[in-house]
């Protein structure tokens, strides 16, 4: 226990204590400025009731679901699997090179990748428009959610690819060989032989990337939630409520709702995982 205590202490101070404090602030009318900044009062569950009636909150809840579904559950998951499946047969040198290139997008600082996409998608000087011949299209303004979903798929696919690569290595080659001999198609092989072996990996991967995506702050760097809240996912909504709107109590209550949503998703995952075994 003595070995673990210092680590636990630090985690308690910087992870658990702030979480509890967020719960408390969420029950008050704490604001950044004005009288409520000096003497915030307990308002009970008012913030939560207000949130449920707030059209902007509902909007960002929906956008977060769309973002997670589009870029994580579908985008990163499927692209990651297809890449892993494809690279499985490639020569080791090629495989390593492609993995490194995909990994680049995952490890670069979010400021850097956000700037890159900003420049590539720019209306006037952007490379994408000159490549597609679509000059004058302001992608981040006209298609903000689509841009964010493509961006996040690009950004996060590496993790799914690497996880599925190591999962595929555990599928017995003899079974794949049998499938080939009986003339099963690629899709049949994946569905009947590969998937049962990697079901746990698929669940774990989907959980991790969904939660990371739901909590991701990089949309703020690309669109800042705009135009007119059209790409305001929950982390961006919370940030803007707290720092631009000054509604610290309200923002904390929403943080708590996001935290609860995370836990619900995780609980569903555990239930699915346990049902398997």
């Amino acid at each position: 226990m003595g070995f673990v205590a210092p680590a636990l202490l630090l985690i308690a101070v910087f992870l658990i204590f702030p979480a509890l404090w967020t719960i408390y602030i969420g029950l008050t009318n704490y604001e950044l400025t004005g009288p409520n900044a000096v003497a915030p009062q307990l308002v009970g569950i008012d913030n939560f009731v207000n949130a449920l009636n707030d059209a902007l909150f509902q909007n960002s809840l929906w956008l977060t679901a769309l973002f997670v579904l589009g870029s994580a559950v579908i985008g990163q998951n499927i692209l990651g699997f297809v890449l892993a499946w494809t690279l499985r047969k490639a020569k080791p040198g090629l495989r390593r090179t492609v993995e490194s290139l995909v990994l680049l997008a995952w490890i670069l600082p979010s400021t850097v990748v956000a700037y890159l996409w900003f420049a590539v998608l720019d209306r006037d000087g952007g490379t994408l428009n000159s490549l597609l011949g679509s000059e004058g299209t302001a992608w981040l303004v006209e298609y903000p959610m689509l841009s964010l979903i493509v961006f996040n798929t690009w950004r996060g696919t590496a993790f799914s690819m690497l996880l599925y690569s190591s999962a595929l290595a555990a599928v017995p080659p003899s079974q794949l060989e049998t499938a080939r001999v009986v003339g099963a198609s690629g899709w049949q092989t994946v569905r009947d032989i590969v998937f049962p072996h990697i079901r746990g990996h698929v669940l774990t991967n989907t959980l991790l990337i969904s939660l990371w995506t739901a909590n991701d702050f990089s949309p703020f760097l690309l669109t800042a939630g705009g135009p007119n809240h059209a790409s305001e996912t929950l982390p961006v909504f919370i940030y803007r409520q707290a720092l631009e709107g000054g509604q610290l109590g309200y923002a904390s209550a929403i943080s708590l709702l996001l935290l609860l949503a995370n836990l619900v998703v995780a609980a569903v995952y555990l239930w699915l995982l346990r049902r398997k075994s």
């Binding site: 680590a7 290139l101 939660l211 919370i238």
Partner: protein
């Protein structure tokens, strides 16, 4: 079988190139003069130039990017060293003892950086304010240490779990003490894992933006914060911006490729048990 390789290979190449395109654009543009960088579509074969880098290091403005870069090095290296000091004993203690399934699951959730970071922003800002450590790099060092500690313990535990129990028992039978066991049996297996964990923690701290943005100002601002400001003030100068972005990316690129194999192994082994 051999016939099937070609389309797979081509597909793999194509996707690799698609992924790296924005990064290639960045590096290439950073080595162009401003006038070449401004053309659209990009002039691939224009002469190379270090003008962007000279400008980034303040050739004409005299504004040095070194303070934020040094802040980033302090925060990332400092927190990584602290993480290792705390995580190695904890991971060792956890790996030699069987852990109950429930605590394993609890651990799993603490470790995966799953909680919304934005939810902790306000309390942590208030902690920094009360302790008088706003805009102070040492606060970031401690904060990053605690943020990376769970994932470090988790990663190292999965590396240490690879040491066969028989080897530890054999060492004990031969009368080896704790120090000898650690040095002869544990270290050879653990050192590559520790190195990979360190590199991963370094990458996470170097890249962190949200807390750095809110908790620091002119004194302790880190490189990502500086770069965000740079986009606003210098965004029109493509070569200079790309040079800045390349410099800020360089440390994580080096760390990432050094850790690549273990990164895969660690994150996937750790994630799926």
């Amino acid at each position: 079988m051999r016939r099937a390789w070609k389309p797979w290979g081509a597909l793999a190449w194509l996707s690799g190139i698609l992924f790296v395109l924005p990064v290639l654009w960045m590096v290439l543009t950073s080595f162009h003069t401003e006038s070449d960088a401004a053309t659209n579509p990009p002039s691939l074969f224009a002469g190379l130039s270090l003008q962007g880098y000279e400008e980034f290091f303040g050739a004409s403005t005299g504004q040095s990017p070194w303070p934020p870069l040094i802040n980033s090095v302090s925060a990332s290296v400092g927190s990584t060293v602290l993480v290792l000091l705390l995580a190695i004993p904890a991971a060792y203690a956890l790996s030699i003892r069987p852990v109950k399934k429930t605590s394993d699951v609890l651990f799993f959730f603490l470790t995966t950086k799953m909680l919304p970071v934005v939810a902790g922003l306000l309390p942590i800002y208030l902690i920094a304010q009360y302790s008088g450590l706003l805009d102070n790099i040492s606060f970031l060092v401690v904060l990053y240490t605690s943020m990376n500690l769970p994932i470090a313990v988790w990663l190292m535990r999965s590396f240490l779990a690879e040491i066969p129990k028989e080897m530890l028992e054999a060492a004990a039978l031969d009368g080896a003490g704790l120090v000898t066991t650690l040095r002869r049996v544990v270290a050879p297996v653990a050192v590559p894992g520790i190195a990979a964990t360190a590199l991963i923690c370094f990458i996470f701290s170097w890249n962190e933006l949200l807390f750095a943005r809110v908790l620091t100002g002119v004194v302790a601002g880190t490189a990502p914060v500086f770069l965000t400001g740079f986009v606003t003030s210098q965004g029109l100068f493509l070569a200079k911006m790309c040079a800045a972005a390349t410099i800020v990316s360089l440390p994580v690129l080096v760390a990432g490729f050094a850790a690549q194999d273990k990164l895969v192994q660690g994150l996937s082994l750790g994630a799926v048990k």
